[in-house]
Every structure is written in C-alpha cells, then in structure tokens.
C-alpha cells in the first residue's frame, strides 16, 4: 500500500469515514466490528449527543470504557442506559426511532442490496455465509444505513444473487415503498478504496470519493458493474489526528483496525 498507510491503516480510514456519517443527536443502531469504533469516534468528536443502540439489548450514550470483542461484552453493559430484550431494541427501530444503522456485508450490488446468506444455489450453496443477524432488520427498518466492506470485484457485484438485506431492490423508483419497507434505505457504501453514495430517494450508488493513495482506475477495475462517478468526485479526507487517537484508544491492539 502507498504512503498514507504509514499514518493509518485502511480500516482506520474506513472507521473515520463511517464516523462522519453519524450526526449529533442520532440514535445509531451499532453493528459489530468497525461500527463500534465509528460510534466511539463520532461520540468523542462531532456527535457528543449520539446514542448507540445494540441489538443484543443495550442503549448507551458513550462508548464502553474498555475494548469490545462483541457488543455483549461486559464493558458495554456497565454504564448502559438500558439493558433489555432484543425485541425492545427492534421495537424502537420499527417505530422509526433509529436514525442510522450500520451493516457489514459480504456482497453488495449497485442498488445497495446486501447478500450475507448464500453464494450460489441456496439449496446447495458454493458458499454459505453466516446470515442476516440483525442486518435485514436494520436494512428494512432504520431511517438510513451504511455498509462497510473490502473493495473487491467479487464483493461489489452488479446484482446480488440473494438479497438478505434489501437496499433499493431492482432500483426502480419507489421500490422500497411499493414493497412495504418502512425505513429509508442505504445512503453509502464505505469500502477500502472509496465511498459510494446513493442519490436522495435511492437508486444506484455512484462514486463520491477515492481514498488517499488510490485512484479512480483502481476503484473502477475492482467494481463489478460500470460504476457511475460523481461529477464532483474528490479524494476522501484522511483521518484527522483526533480521529486516529480515538480509534487507537478504543482498539489499542488493533484487533479490528490493524489485522
């Protein structure tokens, strides 16, 4: 990897970029891994009033005071605002109270549909992925959501073969509304190479920015469809020192960001 890698890793950049999606005052449905760090970074910088909701059955108004391997780890419980049942956390999301959700994906397509279930025929798959977890619930019920993944041609595909967590379906206008989905849908795909953003009201993702040290050609070559590029495509702002400092405080051994 090129020069900037010296200052931060690809994962650290992704966390920083993801944290910028969180607005102050948001109730954030925090998924595992990088999103846990993104919430911590945002809460310690531009979103001091953002709360985190965890499907395991927790609400917090600040990051845990120690490293988390999972959202159910003891440090995430101590000081929680609410320790409850998963169905109660889901109730808040079904009511439209969750402003932003994060979902990890194995495969995403141009319309933001995620596949975390099956590669190939579900009755005898080439690859069986772990499944939805809370992903489908977040994709359907949260007001807006973001996914993070490695930027590879086999991951960013034209159309996923199996929709675990729906984005904008077939991409036709009003697909979510017609299909009865309550939430707003995906707003961005944050990858190891850049940021893809969906237009207001949904549709097809277009390239918004390319991460430092990478170029447009690299992004297009590693995307499984003819990716549209924003007229104002720019370089992704690098992580600031405060952002990196926060990331390294909450992931001291680089469990999530240096492996």
């Amino acid at each position: 990897m090129s020069e900037p890698a010296a200052r931060y890793t690809a994962q650290e950049l992704m966390v920083a970029v993801a944290s910028r999606e969180i607005r102050d005052g948001d109730l954030v449905f925090v998924g595992m891994r990088l999103p846990v760090l993104a919430y911590a970074v945002a809460r310690n910088s531009h979103a001091p009033n953002a709360r985190g909701l965890f499907e395991v059955g927790l609400m917090r108004d600040r990051p845990a005071s120690a490293f988390l391997g999972t959202m159910g780890d003891p440090p995430n419980v101590t000081g929680a605002l609410w320790a409850t049942r998963m169905s109660n956390a889901m109730a808040l999301m079904a009511q439209g109270n969750v402003d932003l959700g994060f979902i990890g994906g194995a495969e995403v397509d141009r319309f933001g549909n995620l596949n975390t279930s099956y590669v190939g025929d579900p009755s005898r798959p080439n690859v069986k992925l772990p499944g939805s977890g809370g992903g489908a619930d977040i994709a359907i019920l949260s007001r807006r959501w973001v996914t993070l993944m490695g930027h590879e041609r086999r991951r960013l595909v034209d159309r996923v073969s199996f929709i675990t967590s729906p984005g904008y379906g077939d991409g036709s206008p009003g697909w979510r509304k017609r299909s009865g989905l309550l939430g707003g849908g995906p707003v961005a795909i944050i990858t190891t190479l850049g940021v893809l953003r969906f237009p207001e009201g949904g549709g097809e993702a277009i390239l918004e920015s390319v991460h430092p040290g990478h170029d447009l050609r690299e992004v297009l070559d590693n995307t499984g469809w003819d990716l549209g590029v924003s007229a104002s495509v720019k370089e992704t702002p690098a992580p600031t020192d405060p952002e990196l400092e926060a990331i390294r405080r909450f992931d001291p051994e680089g469990f999530w960001t240096r492996s």
């Binding site: 159910g72 419980v77 409850t84 977890g133």
Partner: protein
C-alpha cells in the same frame, strides 16, 4: 443435578433446542459440550447468533436443522463447520431455516402466546422470505410462524435449586425462548438460597414451572462473557476459528476440548481462569421489597 444428568434426562435425540439466546454473553457452552459428548443426534438448533457453539454442534454431527439468524464466530467471522455442512454435507446434510434477529424473537413470542404466527414489518424485501417455509408474506406484512422449542438451555449468574434464575446484562431473546419452550435447563455460576432469588422477583427470568433442571456449573459459559464474573476469551474464539478451518483441525480441537474432557471442571483446569475473572465488583443499587 450434574450437566450430564440434565442432558441425559431432558434432551433426547431429535429435540428442538434453543441455545445462546442472550446472543454473545451467557452462552451455555458447557451444556453444548455435554450434548456433543453424549452424541445427541437430529437436533434442531434455535437461536439468534450462537457465536460458535452452533458451529461446534454442527461439526460434531449432532444437528439436523438450524433455525437461526446468524451462525458463525462473532469476533472471527465465518463458521467453518457450518460452511462444510451446508456446502459439502460434512459431516452430514444440514437444513437451514434462515431468520433475522427480530423474526426469530417473534417466532418465539408466537409460541409463547400460543398463536400460529405473528405479523411484522421486517423481512419485507428480503429473500429470506423465499427460502424459509416458516415465513410468508400476507398483504403488506410478513408472517413469522411460531417456533416452539422442546427445551431452552440458559446459563445465568445465579439460580436456586427450585429453578428461579437471576440473569443480568442484555438478555437478547432469553425471556421469549424460556416462555416458548416446554422445559428450561438452567446452568449457573452460583447456586444460591431461595432467599437470594426471592429477594428480587423482578429479576427471575422464568416461572419455575418451566424449569426442569438447575446445574451448578461455574465457568459454564466460557469463552463467552458473564457480567460480573468472566470476561470474554477472545483468543479462545480465534484459536477455535483457526483450528476449525479444516475438518481434521476441528476434529482435533473437538477431542482436545470436548470429547476427551470428562466435565467442565476438568476443562477449566486447562484455561487461565484467573486472567478472565472479573475482579472489580460493581453492585447494583438495591430495590426495597418491604411491605409493612
């Protein structure tokens, strides 16, 4: 009652059993390992995310069907035994009934309330609706059919001999799993007097009428965390992930940690328990149950 007796008495082959219902914490690994030692067969595993316990039971050949939202290793990723079973029928074919976290909860609430299904606004637009026969779309709602476990197995911080269990921290789908199940097997860090559990009836998880066995099994949730007792053993999950990449590696791991281990006490001797034990205690503020 010992774990061996509890599994022998209350979990016959072919059972539909809910495990790991608190998600990442309080996973009854000791119970799961005893199920493997007793070579239970044709189980239908029910749970939200299971965090590698389901992967171990599947790899050991105990499982006919999985009814879950996610099967893998939360901090490490894929479940390799789960993949081998689904992709290559190793060690046997596995039927998968995919759910989301919300829908598996609703399936259990439907059973708890004795209705054939509950309607929901989640799952709409997901192909999970196409592959799981327990899910359907009716009008503008998805219908989630009831899932009634024969048994639910939970690990908790403390319980008494009569089956009154206290658990704290996030509870996931623990409550609906216990209410929906015909019977509940409880394993606990501490076996306490009834005066402790009855001092706080709001913290009692299930009606004692559901509980058929209470097993005093300290450390029974390792490597998963137990609030106030044990931290999560992240390295152990990583070690399992690496060994289970190959079928042979998994078999070796299974012998070392399950098949060649007589019981949980022996298992714990092989682990640095002290490094995982929670040492700084934080007592909750008491509630006053006085009445006169």
């Amino acid at each position: 009652m010992s774990m061996a007796e509890a599994i022998e008495s209350f979990l016959p082959d072919g059972s539909t059993v809910a495990l790991g219902v608190a998600l990442e914490p309080l996973i009854p690994f000791a119970a799961g390992h005893e199920i493997i030692r007793q070579r239970r067969d044709d189980l239908n595993l029910v749970g939200p995310i299971s965090d590698s316990l389901f992967d171990q039971l599947i790899g050991a050949g105990c499982v006919r069907r999985v009814t879950a939202a996610w099967v893998g290793n939360v901090s490490e990723g894929l479940g390799h035994c789960y993949r081998r079973a689904c992709e290559q029928a190793i060690p046997r074919t596995l039927e998968v009934r995919d759910h989301s976290n919300f829908s598996i909860s609703l399936a259990l609430w439907a059973a708890a309330w004795s209705v054939p299904y509950l309607p929901t606004r989640t799952l709409l637009g997901s192909d999970i609706l196409r592959t799981n026969p327990d899910l359907s779309v009716v009008g503008e709602l998805a219908h989630v059919d009831a899932v009634r476990p024969d048994a639910a197995i939970v690990h908790v911080q403390r319980a008494d001999e009569q089956g009154r269990a206290h658990a704290w921290g996030p509870l996931g789908i623990t409550e609906e799993a216990g209410l929906a199940a015909d019977r509940v097997i409880v394993s606990c860090e501490e076996l306490v007097d009834a005066e402790v559990t009855l001092s706080d009836p709001n913290r009692i998880l299930f009606p004692e009428t559901k509980v058929v066995a209470v097993v005093h099994e300290p450390g029974g949730a390792h490597p998963s965390p137990v609030q106030g007792y044990f931290k999560r053993d992240h390295a152990f999950y990583r070690d399992y992930a690496e060994h289970s990449r190959s079928r042979e590696g998994f078999e070796a791991w299974l012998h070392e940690w399950v098949l060649d281990v007589p019981d949980r006490a022996t298992y714990l001797q092989r682990i640095d328990v002290e490094s995982l034990r929670v040492k700084e205690h934080r007592a909750s503020a008491p509630a006053d149950f006085g009445f006169e």
